[in-house]
Amino acid sequence: MKALVGNINRYALHDGPGIRTTVFFKGCTLHCPWCHNPELISPEPEVAFYPERCITCGDCLAVCPQEAIRMQSEDRVDRKRCTGCGLCAESCPSGALARVGREYELEELIEILLRDRMFYKMSGGGVTLSGGEPTQQLLFISALLNRLRHEGIHTTLETNGLFFYEQFAAACLDYLDLIFFDLKFADSAQHQKVLGCCNRVIWENLSSLLTKRAQDVIVRIPMIPGYTATHENIDRIGRFLRQQKAQYYSLLPYNPYGLAKAAAVSMTPDQTLPEQAMDQSELLPWQEFFYGMALVTP
């Protein structure tokens, strides 16, 4: 059994309790303009290009079987031709080209995740599945979570909430200790327009999850200027969560780090997004919309 993984981040402190390893699965069903990991949106392997490292030796040109290298182009890679095979990255001396997305066998991934077991144990940490959208590779994460559970390792999922509930519940729920569930827009039309689908399934899924496991669900709202961070949107989300008896919520301050990463995989960054990161203190006024729920800060 294999999964396409974009990155494995060890010693993660912000994806659940303690010291954790976070697995970033590749492929996402939403297309948030502010995405932190835009290189993980596509469900295919890709090649990222970091121009500041390039020594223009041309070794990539020589090895590319698709003739997808454009030495004159700022992007370097012709995305229409590139199959993400990664031969260019393997030959690149300076690391200017890097492959994003690699298939992992279940056993291989488990071996890596168990390496930091001592760190999990000492800190009350564990493993977090993130992405991309991990539930897109449901059978794999089901098997993975099951194994981690048997190893006695705390498990966390970060999800955009877009999945088939019954399947998800059957495949994963019993093996999960904690779920970060993201909500973006209360307004379905806006959800559709900005993210590419309506929010009905997501909100229903949250509702079902909260009915069963409210104590293990932290609802996360990314606070994005010009998008989610509006009075009306946050007010509606707050009301919905209270109605659904959500217990925990978390506010993610906007940061622009995804914008630079988007350029590396030739995606055009959203020009309306600010270059300045949001300060933690700017979140304070929003907390009043979530009275009755406990704030979780990473």
Binding site: R10, P93, F119
Partner: protein
Amino acid sequence: MTTITLDDISLKNFTLENLPRLQELRTQYFARRPEICIERARYITQYLRYHDDAKDSPEVRQAKKVSHFLHHKSAQFHDRNLIAGSTTSKALGAPLFPEFFALTLWPELETVSNRAKNPQKLTAEEAKELNLEIFPFWMDKNVLEITRTRFGNPECLQLFENLVFFIASKAGCISHAVPAYTFMLEHGLSGLMELAAEKEKALASPTNKEQQNQADFFRAVQISLQGVMAHAEHLAEEAEQLARVANDPEDAAEFTEMAAICRRVPAGPATTFREALNAIWICQVGIHAENINMAMSPGRLDQILYPYYRSDIAAGRLDLARAIELVGCLWLKIADNVTMVPEASEEMFGGAGTVPAITLGGVDSEGEDAVNDLTYIMLRVTELLAIRDPNVNARYDYEKNSSAYCRRVSEVVLNTKSVPAFFNDKANIAALTGQGETLEHARDYAVIGCVELASSGRDYPASSSIMMNLAAPLEMALFGGKRPITGEEQIGPVTPAPSELKSFEDFWQIFKIQLDWLVKQAIQLNEYMGAVHQEIMPSPLLSSLFIGPMDKGKDLIQGGALYNSSGATHIAFADVVDSLNAIEQTVFIEKKYTFNDLLKHVRADFSGPEGEKVRLYLQNHPPKYGTEAPIARKNARNLVRHLFALYQSHTNYRGGPYRPSYWTMTNHAGLGGITGALPHGRKAGKVFSSGITPVSGAAPELTACLNAVAELGGELVPGGWALNIKYTPEADLKKMSEYFAQTIEAYFRAWGQQVQFNVMTYEMLLDAKKHPQKYPELMVRVSGYSAYFKDLNEMMKDELITRTQYGLTDGHAVPLPPLQ
């Protein structure tokens, strides 16, 4: 098992502001410039020139020589320190040991006071005395020259003098020991004298040579102890004199009290905490008259002194503030000396202290929690003073010691940004029992100097005997027994050209041939020099404070200790492992380069665009030590295993094995500076990585780095290691110390032996290099010891700057900023 009675183990209410004496002494300490003290050189020369009796045994001769010095050594009180005695006649002194390298000062007598880097003051009069009276006497009498004459300038000696293969430390010292002070404190030196006298009497009519030697040894012990007691008397006399002339009645009272203490100890048993502290200090002064000031380590002071502390507290004779003040006074006394460093050695050893190690915490001989109130007092003093010496180390047993203790040590590291170093009891005790030490003895280990391990007062490990440059055999394997730096000269065995090799295994065999040959040379020289030490530098005084010699009637240098060994440490471990990885991966697995291509670029120092391209590939692609890449793990493990087996198969002149270790002082910078390019993409002249630390930038993930190092720990590294980790300081200290402690514990549970920290950023260190005046007290961990950043040579500063910096909030290496 001890009980903590302190309400607040951090003792945060005790600050330098409300401990004015410590504040004052610390300020004076930082204002002092080192001065060369010629007293020892003067009096031992005098003894040898006018009083020496060639018929005396080496031990008796040494005892008389040292005792003559101690009888004449001036008694000085340089400041308001409450502990009497000082290692030299200067407030911050560099003593001279003509038996070793003091003569290297000869050509620098005029310049040493004013040289740009770390000057050491020498008066014109004293320079003249050295020039005309002292140095001429020693021309052919130091360890190095005697070895040369005795053994006909052997090849191994020539290799050493080349300095780029290995360093034979016995030409400069053995020292590196932890005495056992308990008997001395309980019975006084007079108790020891009586014991030695009885034993000598029992051997009054020796029937064989051995008994004669034993009798001589016991006589030597008495002679040296008399010297120490005479010096204590002189201290008392001087203090009495100062009390008489003092204007301030408080000063007078202090001198009177010090005089009374010196009249009682170390001759008699210590009855109070203060007496015990001063008795230990005067013994340290005595030991330094006999043994050069390199890593003469006081050991587990929180254990040794605890009974005296307890009973004083119980009797109401002592309060916390006074205890902290007294311990602080001892710390500053221990810091009262530096080594004499000629300009030529600045590159190799510049900025080093004398590294007397103090060891705190851990478990006791029964394996129970040994942390006590005094442990916390000593931690607080270490935190408040933040000075280079003593080198304070915290033992930690993750099963027996409390997590409060671990967190408190972490807090001290974060506050001082560098000390103490952390030692893992489980792995280090296993390392020593692996050497045949009993569990009880291994549990009573203390740190010597940088990171070396020894059962307190039982182990004579000469832990700094050999410093092997592992890049040398690597180059010799690459170039058929020659090295670029020594040109066409055939140094090691002729081995096949790498281009003829069929597999990496073949190369590994060749590397081992060169390595084994070089190690054999280093060991041969150590044996020669050991024999010379037996003849001219026995240590009857130090021996009397050990467990073993007094039973065996044998000096430490003759194998009198309970456990005997010689230590060999290794420089460029990580660089060599990464080079092996690069060769295995790119030449034999990927076949990206032929061995000839690789060597061509290595020889050319990766010059030209093509060379730079190859260098970048080698730096970015092959597996690296400090990650969990299987090839890197295998090569690191194989090298550690091979070195262990290699050294253990040799027996030294005292009948013990050689023990490998991995710490590098500043030699990784110095030797890196003169070593050519290496196959892992390191350009010529770049510093090597320190201790057992992965190459800078090669280990991007903190947990992987700690795992990769930790798995090498335990029995295969009986000499200890230094792992350097640099962390970004965080604003949230409380959170940071939590992660800090958790990370250490996970590393220890994976069998990591030791770890030490610098909590500082690239930018801050760059700024400190540019504007040294802004950072007069900036203390950094080098490789097993602390130094003031401003004192380090430029290469060593660069090494510290470029060391991988990890963020404790994300566990990743922070990218190195562009360096100017």
